[in-house]
Symmetry: none
DNA sequence: AATGAATGAGGATTCATTCAT
DNA sequence: CATGAATGAATCCTCATTCAT
């Protein structure tokens, strides 16, 4: 960000610019996302745009961040209502919430995903960043019921879920909204979780295990 | 393709152009993949290039296809040696083979994936095409041992595996070559497969389940 | 100047702006000398800057003038101490003083010179303005000892000295501080001066010369 | 140069572009020398221009070089006719030739000088490059008649002459074409040269000096 | 078949300047 | 007096594509 918005006015400007970008992305695809077009669509002059963003890429990055933050916020409030006890319903709800985050403005998400992907030469990390809080929520709630996933296990599970959903979003698959899709995802996650036999409860005293 | 390469020379030219493109992609990234650069690198004039490809996109498409064909060919010969009997080793071998297909020339794969993704406005299909033969091989060999995956199940499993591997390739994750990664993928797949109890059929009454 | 700084505060503001400009010029070169940057560096808003200068060029002009005035002031006080009698030492001292004026803040001088040069489409005059007082000082003191230089002679001598020094400053030549350089300049000036044989007048007949 | 002109056609193109640039410089000053304007004036599209020059600066550099080469060539053929014997006439002729090089297309020279000056952050050398061959010619012909100038002396003499002439050209001084101007320059140069007393010739054998 | 010179619409970006607050 | 958000003409440059040779 080139200039920290001092006056309230400029904050709105930044917001307007980002929203305009999102709309263009949504309606006309990434190729149409030129700086001049953004400015025109936002109703500002190109110069104003460059007051706040050092270059085109920064706009995309800001948009990606904004979109991410939004979805994450939604995700977290919804996940907070997660029932701690039974694992499978918890997973299902998490999945459902996660899927919900992908609804609406596919074009935007799609473009953002692409743009984000493109700009990771080697500093790739947040490739599954949306799925991560989901997994953490599950882990937090179901700790002790499952063997912890190793590093590789976590990595694969996160990317697997994210990959499946992302693909569906990308391909605008009709499956995306269905219960069967949700069910399959739940199975995917549950299949990775290895339950810890509940016996210890029964033998609170003794030469355990 | 503007001109079907009937003569051997023409075929070689096309091949040279595609190889040059792949190398540029690998070495200098997608931004450097301009038609003039391709022509120069291939040792042809830009005019010649346009004798064989109607436009830049066609080159990318041809490259993607070529790369796809190559990997597929390798995949299929290797999968042919799959042991029919025991499911888990079969899955493991399939996974290993699949992973092998992703080794080498990451930059090219990466760029091709991106370029391919970009050019699917709504006609998205081949998003998991590499994983498909793997799944078919497993299904062919282990049919009867598992409940068939439904449409959604198939879809999710394919994209999940492809997504995980693709992410690792994209991020150049150090996990990519490890056994733990392979193991996690095997678990991912096995977790989705619901074994059909083979004996119950023969023993309809008995000490059930 | 858009507004004559009557109050002390205004004067300080103008001074601050000019000093900020000089510093930017010195540290970052002419390309960095944008109005916004000047304002920022001076700690004023761009609007304030335009309260005092009608446009960017005026700032440059004011800077050039200021710099000129400064050097001239120094030059004049130092030249005032010039010993009237012997011509060569007088010339040497004048040269030394002149050279002294070029020390320090080369970047600024350089940039100012360039900027000033650029803005003289046809009204060029002050091209040797710094050397002029030097020559005048010499002439004032040594009048009668030398044939007066003609218009062309004056012109050439001024530009010659100024040119040599300016070049050295521009090229940041290591010669600039050396005695040999000073010596050469003295020779350059002395070579142009044609002494008037002082005695012949008093000894109209005698062992001449 | 981005592309070495293979076909003869392109050589002409480069020449046309440079000539167009020179004309714009001459007629409208440096500010008007934009890439698009050059292209338009040359009768080519902007793309063509960039086939041959990597950026605007390269055009200026090429022009400067071209102009330099031209003047140098003229200078050298004329200096070749220099009479070896008597020093002063030799100097006068050299000066005259040198001055001749500055006639015509002042705007171009002016702009080129400025542009060249601007682009010497610290690698400044050729600041007097036109005067250098002149001095060499004189030195070659009059060796033995004068004490050799030291490094500083050469430096100063070159820049002094170049400076005076350059100033006159810059200021479009009416003196430029006059004999008085030429005469003053000759005196400037001659004043720097310290003749070696011709006596040694008379004492070919003896305790010399 | 091959060449490569030429094209030019269109993109990103800068920066002096204005004016409502 | 001061602010700083907004302006937009103008600049440099790219690159897919064509077509005469």
């Amino acid at each position: 960000m080139r200039k920290s918005p001092v006056q309230g006015r400029s904050q709105a400007t930044v917001e307007t610019i980002l929203e305009a970008s999102a709309q263009i992305l949504h309606r006309e695809g990434e190729a149409a996302l030129t700086t001049n077009r953004i400015a025109a669509h936002a109703g500002f002059s190109i110069g104003t745009l460059y007051q706040y963003f050092p270059n085109r890429d920064a706009i995309l990055a800001a948009m990606a961040e904004r979109e991410q933050r939004r979805v994450l916020a939604r995700l977290e409030t919804e996940l907070a209502t997660l029932d701690p006890a039974d694992p499978e319903p918890a997973v299902r709800q998490a999945i459902r919430t996660f899927l919900g985050a992908f609804r609406g403005r596919h074009g935007v998400r799609r473009a953002i995903i692409l743009a984000t992907l493109r700009r990771l030469p080697k500093d790739a990390k947040d490739n599954a960043s949306l799925a991560e809080p989901m997994l953490e929520a599950i882990e937090a709630r179901c700790a002790g019921h499952f063997e912890p996933l190793g590093e590789a296990g976590r990595y694969v599970l996160l990317r697997a879920v994210a990959g499946a959903v992302r693909s569906a979003a990308f391909e605008r698959s009709p499956l995306l909204g269905t219960e069967a899709f949700e069910e399959a995802l739940v199975r995917l996650v549950m299949g990775m979780l290895r339950p810890i036999p509940a016996t210890p409860r029964r033998l609170p005293e003794g030469a355990g295990n």
